[in-house]
Amino acid sequence: MMTSTRSKKLTRSRKEAIDCYVFMSPAIIGLLVFTLGPILFSAYISFTDYDILSTPVWVGLQNYVELFQDKFFWHSMKITFIYAGVSVPLGLVVALLLAMLLNQTLKGIYLFRVIYYLPAVISGVAVALLWKWVFNPEFGLLNWFLGLFGIQGPAWIFSEQWALPSLILMSLWSVGGSMLIYLAGLQGIPTELYEAAEIDGANRFRKFLSVTIPMLSPVIFFNLVMGIIGSIQVFTEGYVMTAGGPNNSTLFAVLYLYRQAFNYFSMGYASAFAWVLFLVILLLTLLVFRSSPMWVFYEEQKGGKKSKARGKTA
């Protein structure tokens, strides 16, 4: 009797397991064929000399050695880091301020939310082309606007000095995506926290610092990680708007990688580059994750945080 129910249970759970694998099979196949397999293969060809036409030739660490001696590699990494280092924090702050502005009960606020989100809907080439002309020094919108105030604008994307700042400025136009995520986070903050802080005599700035920021920290964390991962992979703007120029001032890492792979067909070299880029992103993400216990507060800690917020303002 005992054994028969047990075996019945066993077959039922085995049947469930089989069903489960069948359901997961598209994802598992996709993971193996389009992600894990390519990752391993990429690691392999990063140690070879490969131009697609001839068979890969094992060269050991040569690609990596050459990469680290390639001044364009270092240059493109520097450009990418400056872009990410400025546009990510700037984007975080601007998106948060906009989200707070949009998180009010005002007439027509819904329309404003739609407008502010609109640029995020159109991405890629269309936005790049539009801004290429907004930045035009002679008849572009931006210099016309500056001209209204008597300011002689720079040559923007046509100037070596201003091209990168131009692209950073442009990235701010499309912060709608992360803004919306902040908005969701803001709406999830319990009102009692603000009431409690108010009773304790907290002023607006204090409430922002002791309630809004800590309660929003998981969302800030999410946006920070996504921002780092996304901005290090910037490509379309550099390809469509500036083609890496002028004088390589917008030669982003992925753009240089793309050229190595698909213009020069140095597949091994490009793979080595991709791996270095991967490790850099991984390292940065890990650093952010490691630092998160210091500043990110999750659901379970809400109670504790509440009293902490109170204690601070008291």
Binding site: F145, T191, F208
Partner: protein
Amino acid sequence: MTLSSNLSSNAGVAPRPKMGKRLSDRLTAAFSYALLIAGAIVILAPFAWMISTSLKRKIDVYVFPPEWIPDPIQWGNYAEALTTFPFPLYTLNSFTIVVFVLIGTLFSCSFSSYGFARLRAPGKDLIFLVLLSTLMLPAAVTMVPLYLLFNRLGWIDTFLPLIVPSFFGSAFFIFLMRQFYMGVPKELEDAARIDGCNAYSTWLRIMVPMTKPVLATAAVFSFMWTWNDFMGPLIYLTDESKRTIALGLSYFQGSARSSPELHLLMAATIYSIIPCVLLFFVSQKVFVKGIVFTGVKG
């Protein structure tokens, strides 16, 4: 930090019946409106300029300071832009890819998510963790091997590299749908089981109808990403007749046939964004909800 105070006052704190407070509330509202309108102008100005430019004569494009209302209005620019390059063909190409990607994504992600959300099997959690971690992987790492794989299969210069992967799930959408599936009451599923449904018919008859909102969200996201995708078509498509609209647009700007005909370029650009903008306005409620959802759960 007027904003945070506004936040709390509108979020349910009882307004104090003091005159001074009301006045300051009104001032904050006025200040907020001023900021909101200024921001909206900054966001909409490039759009307005794009529309205006697309309706100008060639000689009026470079008039400085720019005229916001074109005179005369050149509706013919659109027809001209769309015939300079075979844009109707590019549109058809883009739509073909989008339709197959939608079918693939919705089926594979919904199907797989059911397993991840509801069934038990050894190693499931590990597989899910690996799947999620691929979200962090830069596309650059798999770019070269995938190109080589598709090249070996003879798929270069076909739509297959852009379509086929979508039939094998995507970590982002599986994650999104799994979160929704976990919220569907278990009783519904048990009832279906008692009525004799197996796991597959339970998925099809209970889960799929119950989760239409998330399917719609995934469809909208998927449409926009595929429509706007540039790097994929750039790598895999070479033949002019196979170009997608994003790819066609980038060739349009640098081409001897059109450059630097700004008014035509802007007309083509507007044409290319119309489907996304329309879709956004039609679906914004579900769309915005979906983003909000992923944001919170992410």
